[in-house]
């Protein structure tokens, strides 16, 4: 990883200033990744990657232009400057475009794990093998390994703007996952287990493998059930898969553009009083944490829903200006190829008071959902969803048999109000965390 990025940024900012009056921002990322897939104890695929790139935001005459390049040669940098300026000229003016001022220092955060990169590649391959072995050992019906994976990455993010803002940090993560297939009487079912962490020594291969195996075998022999309106329990992973849709509703940009079902609902009750939802980019040891967001604003904790009441929205510098508030540090950047957009950091539903057992015990007939299909087809604007689901039937307070091939439909806005029990343990999947949730009832389509 180069350390001449500051010099490159200065050059680029200087070239912009020579051509136009306005503000400019250079974002540079540099990352290295390693990933190894194991199946049947053999390394099937290994990936070694290195990527860096620069994105340039120019605001001239309140018009925004953006250009990026992975080529950091003089020639390419010159072109990026020209393109960003040209693109700004062709956009329409908007008073909201303004770059953040220097913040006067960022908090020091632990985002990098030396140990991850001190461990040998062979040991990491062994970790992937151990995940597989643990899955296979759990149950003889686990017969196919789709993949058992170890993955790690380190990255440096640097940001510089013409107002003097300047920040840089080094981060890393590591993790493993397995997808395995259980087979019995001609039926095949897949199961999935994963863990991602900042610290290498936290990785538990045994647990990842066991989780994948357990999920695969418990689904064997799954059948449809008849259409019904039933109480539903969502496991933590299923809850987090709803976040891709739910996060839109909390985006101030979506609110501004009439694309959030929380528009006009501030300081109103939007969820059951047991529900508290938080976004926190400064959470220690979590993978969505960073000292500053994709435009250099300091990250922080933002309580979005407190005891069922909507507290506010997530903001970038742009939306904050439009709303007359301060940014929540949620100007998130996917990569150097895109502009900062309102997004989530570490996003979770806080724990409640019930144990998973209690939550299930109170149901005479219901469905425990462990997997959903088609979440990307849900409508984030209206909150409507209709999903293929599988899981376990609940009868008289017990999980009885596996169920698949059915669909559930509902609306996310209504679902938040209909939550009637919240589990007492939050489970994080990478940057998203949730406890078990119980929903009063959902419409289930089956036979």
């Amino acid at each position: 990883m180069h350390d001449n990025y500051e010099r490159i940024a200065e050059q680029v900012l200087g070239r912009v200033q020579q051509r136009v009056r306005g503000q400019a921002e250079v974002f540079i990322s540099d990352s290295q990744e390693m990933k190894v897939d194991v199946a049947e104890k053999k390394v099937e695929n290994m990936l070694v990657a290195q990527e860096r790139g620069l994105g340039l935001r120019v605001i001239a005459g309140q018009r925004l232009g953006y250009a990026f390049t992975s080529d950091l040669s003089n020639f390419a940098l010159e072109r990026v400057v020209e393109q960003a300026i040209y693109n700004a000229k062709e956009s329409e003016p908007d008073s909201g475009w303004e770059l953040p001022l220097p913040s006067g220092g960022y908090p020091v955060m632990k985002l990098y794990d030396d140990e991850t990169f001190a461990v040998s590649v062979d040991e990491k391959i062994e970790l992937a093998r151990n995940i597989e072995e643990s899955a296979r050992a759990f149950d003889a019906r686990v017969r196919i390994t789709e993949r058992s994976v170890y993955q790690e990455a380190k990255y440096r993010v640097s940001i510089f703007n013409s107002l003097g803002l300047n920040g840089s940090f080094l981060g890393s993560y590591c993790g493993g996952y397995a997808v395995v297939v259980g087979q019995e009487n001609g039926d095949s079912q897949t199961g999935f287990g994963m863990q991602y962490d900042l610290k290498y020594k936290e990785l538990n291969a045994q647990k990842i493998g066991r989780e994948a195996a357990e999920k695969a075998v418990r689904m064997l022999g799954a059948q449809k059930i008849a259409s019904a309106h039933l109480p539903v329990v969502l496991d933590p992973y299923t809850v987090t898969s709803f976040f891709s849709v739910l996060q839109t509703a909390f985006s101030a940009e979506a609110v501004m553009k009439g694309k959030s079902f929380f528009e006009g609902q501030e300081q109103k009750q939007v969820a059951n009083p047991q529900v508290t939802i938080i976004d926190d980019g400064a959470m220690p040891y979590k993978l969505g944490s960073m000292p500053f967001d994709g435009e250099g604003m300091t990250t922080r904790q933002t309580v979005l829903i407190k005891d069922g009441w909507l507290q506010g929205f997530l903001h970038s510098n742009y939306t904050a200006k439009k709303f007359g508030v301060s940014s929540t540090g949620n100007g998130v950047r996917g990569s150097f190829k895109s502009t900062p957009e309102v997004g989530i950091t570490n996003f979770y539903i806080s724990e409640g008071t019930s144990t998973k057992e209690q939550i299930i015990k109170e149901i005479t007939k219901g469905l425990y959902i462990t997997d959903v299909m088609g979440m990307h087809t849900a409508n984030p604007v209206s909150g409507d969803f209709s999903l293929g689901v599988s899981g376990l039937l609940i009868e008289n307070g017990e999980l009885t048999r596996p169920v698949k091939g059915i669909a559930v439909a509902g609306n996310l806005k209504e679902l938040l109000m209909d939550i009637d029990a919240v589990g007492n343990q939050v489970v994080f999947y990478v940057t998203k965390g949730a406890p078990v949730l119980r929903i009063k009832a959902l419409s289930i389509s089956g036979d």
Partner: protein, 472 residues
């Protein structure tokens, strides 16, 4: 990069002992324009250049990529990839390169880089204005334009050397309509392997209007029903169903790992006799077309299912080599970031002979799908879902009223056996297909078809209960 340098890089990649080495170099330039709130909000342009080196030994592969594409760095990367797949010693001779002949050319009439941004923003604004004029209940319109020019060089240790330029253009419109507390959206998009001449055949106004009309229509729609019922899918709806119900399950990597319900079924009846399914990379201008795949293999037209009999899977180099056969030209990748995998191109059900209007007439109680959204499949079980973006209730052979909020669920092999009628019409839809984290542009198509029954996952009453209530 010249052939001599590439030769050196491949030799370094092979020198730790390997069966195969490949270089994939890419230089991609994109322009993206976003319009929202009735104005051009964002214009992005970018350059992404990089190279990936793949080394295969036996059934192990290693892949290393970098976007520092100096020869020095590429030699280091080749060494890295070669070492990761190392086994037995091999000191390769120089490779004599040849370029296989493409089956078809896709000439680009107007390269997008020759078109001024103003001309592009004009098309975007035209789509925006047309959408907003559809109805005063249209609250928001988002228009996205993108053109991509991807230059690739693909060379491997078997001597394949291919240079290609792929040009793609697309336009998408998302409209939001509101009335009282109801919010609905409508989406429409079109795209092709074309330059700016894309707009000669694809009118931005029509794309905008279609999205807006759908959003407005859905405001007055009722909740879709719940339960099992006959489903008619109009040709206009495109082919998401066939993509999910059988396409993915016919990709050879999944088949070989026994992660597909279609594994070991070549020559068997896997669908109704009416069903013939083709995956074709050679349809001029279509979004999933290309001259060469991402391994340098010329694109082909591959018949997967013929009159219900499973004929062929989709192969890339590695899966084909595993079975000692030739690739079908389905080796695709999103970019130099990824190794290739067997992927679909333009996948479709071949039209039959029935009049499309006649098909609806045959259905007593059912659902008509006029537009499909996205979908997903678990190839191991064959269970799939797809979203109905525009649906109608059919009663006694007549189209009744629109419904919203439905996903259809089925099992691939079961659904294909239940195809009862196939129309003589034909319609396309485009999309970005995701697999193993890689997105590739695809198209899918079908005639109007009727499936005996699928599970409709709406929020409305179940049909059974509905009938009961009426009887009372």
């Amino acid at each position: 990069m010249d052939k001599k340098e590439i030769n050196e890089i491949l030799k370094v990649a092979l020198r730790h002992g390997a069966d195969f080495a490949e270089l994939f170099w890419e230089h991609k330039e994109t322009t993206a324009i976003g319009c929202e709130e009735n104005r051009i909000e964002r214009i992005l342009s970018g350059i992404d250049e990089g190279a990936g080196i793949r080394v295969i030994y036996d059934s192990s592969s290693s892949y290393a990529y970098t976007n520092d594409v100096t020869t020095k760095r590429l030699l280091e990367v080749a060494e890295l990839a070669g070492k990761a797949a190392q086994k037995r010693e091999r000191f390769p001779e120089s490779i004599s390169f040849y370029t296989p002949k493409a089956a078809l050319e896709f000439p680009v009439k107007i390269p997008p880089q020759d078109v001024k941004i103003e001309a592009k923003t004009k098309k975007v604004l035209a789509a925006n204005n047309a959408a907003r004029q559809v109805d005063k209940r249209i609250r928001q319109v988002s228009v996205g334009y993108q053109d991509v020019r991807q230059n690739v060089t693909i060379a491997n240790s078997e001597g394949v050397f291919v240079e290609d330029l792929r040009t793609r253009t697309r336009l998408s419109v998302n409209a939001v309509a509101t009335e009282n507390s109801i919010v609905q959206t409508g989406y429409n998009s079109a795209g092709g392997v074309m330059g700016f001449e894309f707009f000669d055949e694809n009118d931005p106004e029509t794309i905008g209007e279609n999205a807006a009309k759908r959003a407005v229509l859905m405001l007055s729609a009722q909740n879709a029903p719940t339960g099992r019922m006959p489903v008619v899918m109009a040709s206009l709806a495109g082919g998401t169903m066939i993509h999910e119900a059988c396409g993915h399950g016919l990709e050879a990597d999944l088949v070989q790992k026994k992660l597909s319900v279609y594994a070991n079924k070549i020559g068997e009846q896997v669908a109704s006799q009416l069903v013939t399914v083709i995956d074709d990379g050679l349809i001029p201008g279509k979004y999933g077309s290309f001259r060469y795949d991402d391994e340098g293999c010329p694109a082909q037209k591959t018949t997967l299912i013929e009159k219900g009999i499973l004929k062929e899977y989709m192969y890339d180099y590695q899966t084909a080599t595993h079975e000692n056969r030739k690739s079908t030209g389905n080796g695709r990748r999103e970019s130099y970031h990824s190794r290739p995998l067997p992927r679909m191109r333009n996948t479709y059900i071949v039209p039959g002979t029935m009049n499309a209007d006649g098909i609806v007439k045959e259905v007593k109680d059912g659902l008509l799908v006029m537009a499909m959204g996205g979908g997903q499949v678990n190839t191991t079980t064959g269970d799939y879902v797809f979203d109905v973006a525009e649906g109608y209730i059919i009663k006694d052979g007549e189209v009744q009223y629109p419904v919203r909020g439905a996903t259809l669920t089925g099992n691939g092999p079961e659904t294909l056996q239940l195809v009862e009628m196939i129309g003589s019409d034909f319609g396309y839809a485009i999309g970005v297909c995701g697999k193993a984290g890689q997105g590739v542009p695809v198209a899918d198509a079908q005639p109007t078809i009727a499936v005996k029954e699928l599970i409709v996952g709406g929020r409305g009453d179940s049909q059974k209960r509905d009938t009961k209530i009426r009887r009372l």
